[in-house]
Amino acid sequence: MEDSRISDTSKDKEKLSSFTAVFEEQCPFFMSIGMTYEEYWRKDCWLTQYYLKAYNIKKEQENEKMWLQGLYIYEALCDVSPIMQPFSKKGTKPHKYPEKPYSLYEKNKTQKEKEEEIVQEREKAYNFFKSWANRVKNNMEIKERK
């Protein structure tokens, strides 16, 4: 999302009629990202840049958190999907939800954990395609009966 607060174009500089108006307009934004009134008006002008950089870092972190949450929701839906199929066989069970959170750092995983992960992924893919194939087969049978 582009920052539309102030753009550094010559057109905007021509329009600059008052420093005070611009500063007063921007003050609430900088206070909302943690800068105090005193810092904004009375301290070094370039302090705002550090607050802006910190704000951008926080936005990135928040974005990563939401992405990770989406991943867990996706995981949950995939694990539950076998029993959500309309023509799933009796006794079908959902996949087990992971016992531990995803490791954010690859190097923390042991070789065994990596191999287990690969096996789990293969199993998921197999079940997904198997249930898809069954669905297609059932649909064709229904059409033939008609």
Partner: protein
């Protein structure tokens, strides 16, 4: 660490060194005195003394206006101050824009010796 530009002026008569710098409050104060950035280049005779006074506001707010004006009158090359002060004022505006500004490693210095 990025910092606002400063200039130092030595009042040799009273043996005082002043550090001139702007903050946003100083610019707002200057505008309340009648300063207009757009007229700074066109009307230096009117605007420059105000800009010079405003530069004392941050670090020397208790200095008397008469002393500041006297110091201003004693400067030989006053026109040379215009681009320097304009650049210093621009810092307060530029610092609001998101993005990498220029690294401020150079400080403009201005020394008066009488």
């Amino acid at each position: 660490m990025k910092k606002s530009k400063q200039i130092t002026i030595t009042d040799t008569k009273n043996n005082i060194e002043y550090t001139l710098e702007y903050n946003r409050e100083a610019l707002a104060q200057m505008e309340s005195w009648g300063f207009n950035y757009n007229e700074f280049i066109e009307k230096p005779a009117t605007m420059l003394p105000l800009a010079f006074r405003g530069a004392f506001y941050k670090n020397h707010s208790k200095s008397k206006i008469a002393d500041i004006d006297e110091l201003f009158e004693s400067i030989e090359d006053r026109k040379g101050l215009i681009p320097v002060l304009a650049d210093m004022m621009n810092d307060c505006y530029q610092s609001l824009i998101n993005g990498d500004g220029e690294e401020n490693e150079k400080k403009a210095t201005w020394k008066i010796v009488e």
